[in-house]
């Protein structure tokens, strides 16, 4: 006789898993809920570790290989923990022709980070985005969720260094 199905338990007793479980249950724990579940886990924990991928896959009945495939396909998901602060530089066309290249170069010169890297002290993670849709504010960046427009490299570096 095959073993009875038991619902997988979360990797830890962290309460944030409840949020992830609820989001999956609302969508009937079906495979189609995979991306929503990964969103929920990343919102709760900031990134997706292997434990999270396994748990989500087991709950929704999706093979781990496919969970990994989906999590790495979409650039929104990150498998690495982030720094205390994030700085997202928009590299959309409007920002590009208004100088986002210089901003990235300036940050690399002064903070020693390239896109997708975190400063050595773990303070700031630098990311890039395809387009924030804030083209009228070009060049634009997002610092910890707040959009800043018409950015000047010097001011940005000073602000990030002060964090």
């Amino acid at each position: 006789m095959p073993a009875l199905y038991t619902k997988p338990s979360p990797p830890s007793d962290d309460k944030r898993w409840k949020i992830v479980e609820t989001r999956m249950r609302r969508m009937g724990d079906r495979p189609a809920a995979l991306i929503e579940a990964l969103h929920a886990a990343q919102e709760a924990f900031g990134y997706l570790d292997e434990g999270a991928l396994h748990f989500v896959g087991d709950t929704l009945g999706v093979p781990h290989s496919r969970v990994y495939g989906v999590a790495t396909f979409y650039s929104f998901f990150t498998l690495k923990p982030q720094g205390d602060h994030t700085c997202v530089v928009c590299t959309g066309t409007a920002c590009y022709i208004n100088g986002s290249k210089e901003i990235l170069a300036g940050l690399e010169r002064n903070l020693g980070v390239k896109p997708k890297q975190t400063t050595e002290d773990g303070k700031v993670s630098l990311l890039t985005a395809r387009c924030l849709g804030a083209c009228s504010l070009a060049p634009a960046v997002i610092i910890d969720g707040d959009v800043k427009g018409k950015v000047n490299v010097g001011d940005l570096v000073a602000q990030l260094e002060a964090m």
Binding site: V62, T93, T128
Partner: protein, 552 residues
Amino acid sequence: MSEQPVAARPIRRRIITEEVHEGPVRAHAYVCEAASCMSAQAHDITLRLGEAAAEAGLTDVVIKRVGCLGLCAAGPLVEIPETGQLFSAVTPDGTAPIVTALAAVKSTDERQPQGPFFEKQLRVATENMGRIDPESLEDYLGRGGYDALKKVLSDMTSSEVRDEIMRSGLRGRGGAGFPTGLKWTTVAKAEGKQKYVICNADEGDPGAFMDRSVLESDPYRILEGMAIAAFAVHATEGYIYCRAEYPLAVARLRTAIRNAQRAGYLGAGIADTSFNFDVQIRLGAGAFVCGEETALIASVEGKRGTPRPRPPYPAVEGLFDCPTLINNVETFASVPTILRKGAEWYSGIGIGKSKGTKVFALAGRIVNTGLVEVPMGMSLREIIYDIGGGIIDGRPFKAVQTGGPSGGCIPAEHLDMPVSYESLIELGSFMGSGGMIVMDDTSCMVDVAKYFMDFCRDESCGKCVPCRVGTTQLWMLLDQITRGQATMADLDQLERLAGIVRRMSLCGLGQGAPNPIFSTLRYFRDEYLAHIVDKVCPAGVCTIEQPAEVMA
């Protein structure tokens, strides 16, 4: 897929506007609270303006947050609709002039023209933008909202609705311009018990923000348009697939869905009829290719967003293998107005086979960055110079890029061409979703082509070889040219390979990827030659590596 877009935090603040006014209202102040102005503290302006008006003893004025006023470059914007006065670049501490102006409004005042940026536009899909509180169902109803759905449900059959859309000449506003009525008919006639309607709000073209603004400024309109479509094609379930990079749009959509459900405009028995339709939101996760309809469907199903060959088209075999209607945000936004005002009215606007109006996002080196809606057939010159205010610092115009990474660059000699689906293709570009990025002499066209190729090679999903390998090879060739390391043979190779990628790729991403190369070669070949033969970048953008001297 190396980049990592991270969403701004969702903004969840209490609705503070629209305090109930018992007495007559003499004047309003509309504060733009769309994403662009929000990032410049527009919400604080609303709060402070309310306080300041109260302090000044103004009891007969209403401070109201509205959606995008369109002129993003001058934001944050505040408008007094009674007089048409506009206040630009307002700060939370600088509300005094607005209070003074509010106090001076008389009931006899007439709305003054606001200049060519506003006067030359014709608003259909964006008719409520900047006029209503985006989250208020009452505001939407007050502007004729849901009249079209009620009319459809009470007086029309689903085939009459499809005919009306067909006769209006509306075509898909996502870029390719497929006739909307024809698509609806295909889905309606497809066999299947369960059918779906999907709104494509995965606006991925860099430099395009029309859909974001519509969603943030008038979310009920999308829900109404989707419900009408669902009735016309016999669907009962809908999805809005929205980018995760648009947290404000998602938050407002969620509120709108909740309010519409409560008021009986979504769910079971809509508007007291037997028609059922409900909508869910699905968040994208930063993959440009998901704007392609088969990839989008895979993503809604929780899979990697890779496209598949068509046919079968989604209209026959789409989401969960059921017939599925997919339209873009702007297409759905046009539907309620068309049904309210009639197909003849709509098809009377426009030029040739391109009927109606189109929303464009103006960005780049242009004075009036922002969102505009104009009749099809307006010339690029009118859009860029009359509405857009011309080039920043009065520099010379070089090109306007339309259609995103699948589009092309149009040079000055074609500025008088009327804009339509057909004319843009004739010029080697593409309507796309409606982003217009203006470039002046500080942009190098080879560098621009390289920028878009970098985008495409990064966003290629990797499923088919011509796109995955081809875009990378094309980028390497362009990189060599911009570094001054290429020969004329490389240029031939570039053209040949670009043709292969265009003809052989599986989906629109790969097929369109070489377009920026073709269009820049067509109009700016001399710039390519300058890099290759003379080893100089005329715009001074590219860093040419001088060959090391050979030791004799």
